[in-house]
């Protein structure tokens, strides 16, 4: 069964325990930062910061909301990053996590562009760089533990479990408290569904989540890629055919002027038609 995480933003208190726990578990170094007029730091995710909590001041008229949103890889059901990866270094596992194979990656960074959530990050400042992103703590899962961030969360904002069950839980919460939540489980449908699901009290576009349709990102590329084998056949056949025709016509013409077949005609014999 595929695992996932239900992230209930109404429960997130922005403590960033998850952010620190992720670094601790994954041995990620701190980054040099400076206060840029916000509590948020590091300002964005990077190869050394796989998850960040964003602090969103959302005002509606007189009302002010301060909504905290932990962001990391969504572990898409049909991940664009994996579709993109030139060597198949990124892969969706049946257990849920979208994993990365250090040994394959050539560092082309196509995955970073393909990901609709801006997730994969690259080691820009090393001579032997890799892609880095949240792993859903597959290594911990292998030992029967929940992800480090979920473990650290003091307020049960990060619920780790079977995606199907989490989805039901999310629906149950929306139904029980329609006054508290917007009627949207982000990740249920987005880009064909993601292992990580979010529920929140304000619309997701106000929290910096991209607005995405239900179709998987690789849908167009898949069509194009499917067209490759027929294209090979059709183009080869067409070219051979045309060649055969033009050659034959040339033969016939050259017979008329008694030029040996093997010999190339003089260029000026061919007039534009």
């Amino acid at each position: 069964m595929a695992k996932g995480m239900l992230i209930d933003l109404t429960r997130c208190i922005g403590c960033r325990g998850c952010q620190a726990a992720c670094k601790q578990w994954n041995d990620l170094p701190a980054e040099p930062t400076s206060n840029w007029g916000s509590y948020e730091n590091p300002p964005r995710r990077s190869a050394n910061t796989w998850t960040t909590v964003t602090f969103n001041e959302v005002s509606e008229g007189d009302r002010l909301d301060w909504v905290f949103a932990k962001r990391q890889c969504m572990h898409c059901e049909d991940p664009a990053c994996a579709a993109a990866c030139i060597v198949g270094a990124l892969r969706k596992t049946p257990e849920g996590p979208v994993v990365y194979d250090d040994h394959k990656c050539i560092g082309c960074r196509y995955c970073t562009l393909a990901c609709p959530f801006g997730v994969p990050t690259f080691e820009w400042d090393t001579p032997v760089p890799y892609i880095r992103k949240c792993t859903m703590c597959v290594d911990r899962q292998a030992e029967g533990m929940e992800p480090a961030c979920a473990k650290a969360c003091p307020n049960e904002a990060l619920l780790f479990g079977e995606r199907e069950e989490l989805l039901q839980e999310a629906h149950a919460r929306l139904e029980a408290h329609p006054e508290k939540y917007v009627d949207h489980i982000y990740g249920e449908k987005e880009v064909g569904g993601t292992s990580n699901l979010y529920i929140a009290s304000v619309p997701f576009d106000k929290l910096g989540f991209p607005t995405l349709g239900p179709e998987a990102i690789p849908r167009y590329a898949n069509v194009a890629m499917a067209a490759v084998p027929p294209t090979i056949v059709v183009v080869s056949a067409a070219m051979a055919g045309i060649y055969w025709i033009t050659k034959r016509r040339e033969q016939m013409m050259s017979q008329k002027v008694s030029v040996p077949v093997e010999q190339w005609p003089k260029p000026d014999q061919d007039k534009e038609d």
Partner: protein, 391 residues
């Protein structure tokens, strides 16, 4: 068939371009130093690339533009060998040279851009057939090989190596066809790579038929590049090509550009997005410049016989097509491609240094090849034409 090959090299005709080559050499040296820094300190040390924008000048210009601009090779090969339009024979070699150099430049640039270029061979053993880039990678690899083979007679002739020449000759047509197939695939697949960014590319450019648009525009620009490059080479290297040949190519362009235009606008029409052409601010402007300046204007120009009768007009008109394509590729893969929120990208000077070095190397190689290899066929009297004309 005569056994001996008569190749008259033009090295004797013009003095060696010392100034030009020195300038190119300096530019290449600068690029080399920058590349060394990159290999010691990482890509971040010499570029403004970031997670916010992981592909920049190198991919947009060196790869997307580079590959399209090198399309002259396969279009001309098709014209001459498959369509059997022998009139264009005199320029096919230089077109193939340009293509070959173009692809080598692309690969060199990728060596700098890839995080771990020494693993490029991974695409041979680790397959991901779903990835458009995987296909591009394979095609570029194979096509460069094909181009090398197509180009090899120049070298074999130069050094009078008959056995390989014969060998190449026997597989000439399959090779040409393979080149065309590969080009069709990867020219279009370059468009497919962008299909994985449906929500990031501005709707004026994003369309599921990007691969088709990429292919069509590549064919047009291939021809335009041949005109442009041949005209420039005529000037710079002093070998004249018959105006007739250039005009002939020019005559095909209105049809190709027209087809591209119809497909492109038709697609917008079908998608109901035509109004974006005027309602998207800067993007509309860029789009219109690209379409009007790079497609419609040259289409009209090439349709005018007067233009086709003037070398200068041909040169400028083809330049329009080339610039239009460059703008198109930059638009679709750089300008109209949204970076991650809160980030922006302006290429670093050192990124330009790399691209300039790569282009310099290409130009230098072109000059040298033209000097020392039997490229400029058309200058030879008919009787001195080489026996094997492999493109």
């Amino acid at each position: 068939m005569t056994a001996e090959t008569h190749v008259e090299l033009n090295r004797s005709k013009q003095p060696f371009p010392v100034v030009t080559t020195s300038i190119l050499g300096v530019l290449m040296a600068i690029g080399l130093v920058v590349a060394i820094i990159r290999f010691i300190n990482g890509i971040g040390a010499i570029s403004n690339l970031s997670d916010g924008r992981a592909w920049g000048l190198w991919i947009s210009f060196d790869l997307y533009c580079g590959v399209a601009l090198a399309a002259g090779g396969f279009t001309l090969a098709a014209t001459v060998y498959i369509l059997n339009l022998k009139k264009y024979y005199p320029i096919v070699r230089s077109a193939i040279l340009t293509a070959f150099l173009g692809y080598v430049m692309v690969i060199v640039a990728l060596m700098v851009d890839l995080g771990q270029p020494w693993r490029i061979w991974h695409i041979i053993i680790y397959w991901n057939p779903h990835s458009p880039l995987f296909e591009v990678g394979w095609c570029v690899l194979l096509y460069t090989t094909v181009l090398a083979l197509e180009f090899s007679p120049n070298v074999f002739e130069r050094f009078n190596m008959q056995t390989p020449l014969r060998l190449i000759r026997t597989i000439q047509i399959p090779l040409i066809i393979a080149g065309i197939v590969l080009s069709t695939l990867h020219q279009s697949s370059l468009g497919s790579t962008l299909l994985l960014m449906p929500d990031k590319i501005h709707a004026l450019w994003f369309t599921p038929i990007l691969p088709i648009l990429f292919l069509l525009s590549a064919i047009s620009v291939g021809l335009a590049m041949v005109i442009l490059e041949t005209s420039l080479a005529s000037k710079g290297l002093g070998h004249q090509v018959d105006l007739d040949i250039l005009a002939g190519l020019g005559k095909a362009l209105p049809y190709l550009l027209g087809l591209y235009l119809v497909v492109k606008l038709g697609d917008l029409l079908v998608a109901g997005e035509l109004d974006l052409m005027f309602s998207s601010g800067l993007y509309s402007l860029l789009f219109l410049v690209e379409i009007v300046g790079g497609v419609i204007l040259p289409l009209v120009l090439f349709a005018l016989p007067a233009v086709r009768l003037s070398r200068t007009a041909l040169l400028w008109s083809s330049l329009l097509v080339v610039l239009g394509l460059v703008l198109n590729r930059l638009n679709v893969s750089l300008i109209a491609l949204a970076p991650r929120p809160g980030t922006m990208y302006v290429p670093h000077v050192l990124e330009f240094a790399i691209s300039i070095a790569v282009v310099s190397a290409g130009i230098l190689a072109y000059i040298l090849a033209n000097r020392y290899l039997p490229i400029a066929e058309h200058e030879h009297p008919a009787g001195h034409r080489p026996v094997v004309e492999v493109g």
